[in-house]
Amino acid sequence: MRETRIIMGMPVTVDITSDDPKSMVNILEEVFDYFAYVDEKFSTYKSTSEISAINAGTLTPADYSDDMKEIFMLAEKTKNETGGYFDIVNREGKYDPSGIVKGWAIWNAGKILQRRGVRNFFVDAGGDVQTAGCKSNGQKWSVGIADPFVGHYDKVVKVIRVSGEGVATSGTAIRGQHIYNPHKRQFSDKNSHGDKSNGIYDIVSLTVIGPNIYEADRFATAAFAMGRRGIEFIENLHIGDHKLEGYMIDTNGVALMTSGFEKYVV
């Protein structure tokens, strides 16, 4: 049973493999209610949210809610683990924890389903997904990495199969051939070192497969900010026994993948 709603400014899809879809209706509502709760608390676009109150200076750390304290703690941890490439303080000096809230919320939504005894599902918010178990035909869930060069996300450039992992893609889509600086298209530039490259603007997409969507999302966000070095960061990243894998696409349409990525490829 699958349902999609627009929450937090993006399509949120919950799919539950079930022989009795009607029994899942209340569980689905609980999951969507949770996302609405997250939006109300963490949206920087809502003046009534807790994060907006913090940024307006009307709420002090001692009065933060438990979830807000947790997010700030996780954000600090991520900042340390990524050498500062992940930071919830934005250019105007305000807190914007969106880069960590999304993955955290999807992961929590998955936990709601698991607490309700659901073993086979996925929760997808804006292209970041937590998976569990299998689909109705017994196969693992298939995830297509969107073609970053087109405006519509109905074209994919790579398909992977996951069951239990989280998949997150960070990046931007640069549309159209005309936007490319013809000089950057030369292969001889690919090995250029140092800051001759435009940093993050040399890559357009970085997909991370992690043990859960929380880990995949925060590290995809940080790794994308590192530019071409991002894929190396992912290659060296382990969470416990689980090695993270990644697939990075550059402005020339060339992808680099981590050493264990292909085990997920169909």
């Binding site: 250019r91 997904v129 869930w141 060069f149 994919v156 931007t172 960061f233 680099l256 292909e262």
Partner: protein
């Protein structure tokens, strides 16, 4: 005997140390990419526009110059682009603001890198359960670019 060998030994160790140090400092920016046998063209093709921008502008559609787009929210942060028009068409687009670009000079640990496999991307069937892509930022990119191009029209 030992005294006689000591100085050359130090020189050799010092030289080896210097060479090793020199190699460590010049860590590659990314893994050396082996020559590709590209079967599909690596240059992405233009497809029909999603939100009113026509990518392949006919010459003379825009006035030459550099135009700064509005700051668009990408949910994760702000995106602002600058379009450069030459000969009436878009010659380049630069990011002025981009989410996650906190501009720190914090380094990441440099470790030795195994060769990472590379490939030219190629379109595949989209018959998948989930599509993973960076949706938010691209919409903001288009929004900011539209604003920039509207000044050039």
């Amino acid at each position: 005997m030992i005294k006689k060998l000591f100085l050359p030994f130090v020189v050799i160790v010092g030289f080896v140390g210097f060479v090793v140090y020199g190699r460590m400092k010049t860590a590659p920016n990314t893994a050396i990419v082996p020559p590709l046998s590209v079967s599909t063209t690596p240059v992405p093709t233009v497809t029909s526009p999603a939100t009113g921008i026509s990518p392949t502008a006919t010459s003379g559609q825009y006035k030459d110059g550099t135009y700064t787009g509005s700051v668009a929210d990408a949910y994760y942060g702000n995106v602002q682009v600058q379009a450069v028009i030459q000969n009436g068409v878009i010659a380049d687009v630069q990011f002025l603001q981009y989410p996650s670009d906190n501009g720190t000079s914090a380094g990441i640990s440099q470790r030795s890198m195994p060769l990472l496999k590379s490939e030219a991307i190629s379109a595949q069937s989209a018959a998948v359960d989930i599509i993973s892509g960076a949706t938010q930022t691209s919409q903001a990119f288009q929004q900011s670019l539209t604003a920039a191009l509207s000044q050039a029209s």
